[in-house]
């Protein structure tokens, strides 16, 4: 019993880190731009698919940690320039939500046409297992969790300590004042969108060797990411991490004792309950 709980919690913690990173992308985009990025799942899929092609052509998955975000950045810039930037300021949230919806369809269908409907796999870049609680656990998963945490840390450092990060925070606080003080606000908007998308793509590239790669794998992560972000309170970074932990750990804990489907349902109910008590989010900042 202890064994089962231990294994489950470790696994849950791993996923919490990854979901936190992906959800942060969503939080960033919403907090800054007021865009509910429904296409986030599609971006996650693009990251994973790019990782597959990198592993296939260059022989090693590791390069994808650089190439996936790069490709995603290019795609995000194109998307942003051609549609979203026209409706950022002064429009109701419905507008960018619908644009995002349309984008999701387009991206998903394009990935189907390019990648095909068959699932593919990337061979484990770290094919080692360690003994854990009576079974073995993949070392790669632990690496993925650590990498996610590192990325989150890097993101926080970027936001807190660099000039671009300062611009982002300033614009987030008050875009008029920031603009008046010389911050290139339109550029910051685009930068934030690209940053958020990159986090999704990185998540996809990271998860790719752990699971299979399909054109519609975005659906798997988007529900969790949304719930995490919403319960976290739009735009709250610490809230997002806490929220991801609660969702993932409660799910992991319950699924030891009851049917995992039911466990997921209960952890979702817990999240809804939290949201109801604190609609502005778990943390007030």
């Amino acid at each position: 019993m202890i064994d089962a709980i231990g294994l489950s919690l470790v696994n849950a913690a791993v996923w919490a880190c990854i979901i936190a990173m992906v959800s942060l992308g969503l939080t960033l985009i919403y907090g800054q731009l007021n865009i509910i990025n429904i296409a986030h799942g599609a971006m996650y899929a693009i990251g994973a698919i790019t990782a597959f092609y990198v592993a296939d052509f260059l022989g090693s998955w590791t390069y994808s940690l650089l190439i996936s975000p790069l490709i995603m950045a290019i795609i995000a810039i194109i998307i942003y320039i051609s549609s979203l930037r026209f409706r950022i300021v002064g429009y109701p949230v419905a507008v960018t939500l619908i644009i995002s919806y349309g984008l999701m369809f387009i991206l998903e269908q394009l990935t189907l046409l390019i990648f095909g409907g068959a699932p593919r796999n990337i061979s484990n870049p770290l094919p080692y297992q360690i003994g854990l609680f009576g079974r073995t656990y993949s070392v790669y998963r632990i690496f993925a969790a650590i990498f996610s945490l590192a990325t989150i840390g890097a993101l926080l450092a970027f936001l807190g300590k660099t000039k671009l990060g300062l611009w982002i925070r300033a614009t987030n606080q008050d875009h008029d004042t920031a603009s008046a003080m010389g911050v290139p606000v339109p550029f910051v908007y685009m930068l934030t969108y690209v940053l958020g998308s990159i986090l999704a793509a990185l998540g996809g590239a990271l998860v790719a060797p752990m699971t299979s790669i399909t054109h519609n794998m975005g659906h798997e992560i988007v529900i969790d990411a949304f719930i995490v972000v919403i319960v976290a309170g739009f735009g709250s970074i610490p809230g997002t991490i806490l929220s991801a932990l609660i969702l993932s750990l409660s799910n992991g804990l319950f699924s030891v004792f009851i049917n995992p489907v039911l466990a997921k349902g209960i952890s979702l109910a817990i999240m809804v309950g939290i949201l109801y008590r604190r609609p502005e989010g778990i943390m007030r900042y």
């Binding site: 349309g102 039911l262 979702l268």
Partner: protein, 319 residues
């Protein structure tokens, strides 16, 4: 200006209505049932228009009502052998209660949390529906035999497409008429006031929360009825009716038709359903891409939709 508007609207509506009664008799069976679908989808979009177009609240989870309406009419017929009228009654009670409670719970939230909550709830409902195969049939769904429509001394079978059509037309017309009338009452206008400026409405003494709850309930019931009609039409439903694609459809149909115009809710599907079928037959690979592009173009270039643009055209000329 007011009387001018009433002047052209009513005869236009009556004209369209008479066309809808007469013309389908001359259409091929395929177009008959396509019209049925358009009417049902129009009703579904009407529900969305009520909460979004008239109340200014973005409910991004209309599929909850669509699916709920469908199942609350299917399950009584399937398991308790009820007739259509009885099942419809149950459906209305279920949807009303549900929307009332749901609306009450979320109406106190400000706009962004409202949207967020509706998204989360719809995802959860989809998950619940998929996870409960014995009740909902999950992905592959449940088929059932639709009993004939019982009027006392005679009954009409739904196997006859024209019976189905007139039934759907009757219900859609009645609901449309009721909603149309509702927004002309002082209470309905108060709801519109909430859309315009909620704080001001509050200062004028309106209980905006109550108004929002009422609007939400109305929206839920209307979309629920649409869901029920669709299930009666197909003789089938699956957990997929809770999928967010249905929400997306209600949104893009309403927006293309014209938000806040009531008729727009029917014009939207009227135009797009043809398009969707045409494109998905011509090139199924490009279908979703094209719909995505249309969605984006419409919301950026023509957010008033078809009816909205025509209305603007008229008002400009009227001046």
């Amino acid at each position: 200006m007011e009387s001018n508007k009433k002047g052209y609207k009513l005869p236009l509506l009556l004209g369209v209505f008479s066309l809808l009664i007469i013309v389908p008799n001359f259409l091929s069976p395929f177009y008959k049932q396509l019209l049925i679908e358009i009417l049902v989808f129009g009703l579904f979009s009407l529900g969305f228009d009520i909460i979004f177009g008239f109340t200014g609240l973005l409910n991004f989870g209309t599929s909850v009502f669509f699916g709920l309406g469908g199942y609350s009419v299917l399950l009584p017929i399937l398991h308790w052998n009820m007739g259509v009228w009885a099942a419809l009654l149950i459906m209305i009670i279920v949807c009303s209660l549900f929307s009332l409670v749901y609306g009450f719970l979320i109406s106190r939230f400000k706009s962004h949390y409202f949207v967020a909550f509706t998204i989360v709830v719809s995802m959860i409902f989809f998950y619940i529906a998929m996870a409960n195969r014995p009740i909902t049939g999950a992905d592959e769904g449940l088929t059932f035999k639709v009993p004939p429509l019982n009027f006392g001394f005679f009954s009409l079978s739904f196997n006859n497409t024209m019976v189905k059509y007139y039934f759907v037309l009757a219900i859609c017309s009645i609901v449309f008429f009721l909603v149309w009338k509702f927004f002309r009452t002082p209470y309905g206008k108060a709801i519109i006031a909430v859309r315009e400026n909620e704080d001001r409405a509050k200062m004028l003494g309106y209980s905006t929360t109550n108004l929002k709850v009422v609007s939400f309930t109305l929206s839920g019931v209307v979309s629920g009825v649409a869901g029920a009609l669709y299930v009666l039409h197909l003789g089938f439903s699956s957990a997929h009716s809770f999928f967010w694609l249905w929400t997306a459809r209600s949104v893009w149909w309403t927006i293309t038709g014209g938000v806040g115009t009531l008729i727009g809710a029917f014009v939207g599907p009227g135009v797009l359903v043809f398009f969707e079928d045409l494109i998905s037959t011509w090139n199924p690979d490009l279908y979703l891409i094209i719909m995505g592009v249309i969605m984006i173009l419409v919301i950026i270039l023509a957010p008033q939709g078809i009816v909205g643009s025509i209305q603007t055209l008229f008002t400009k000329r009227g001046r």
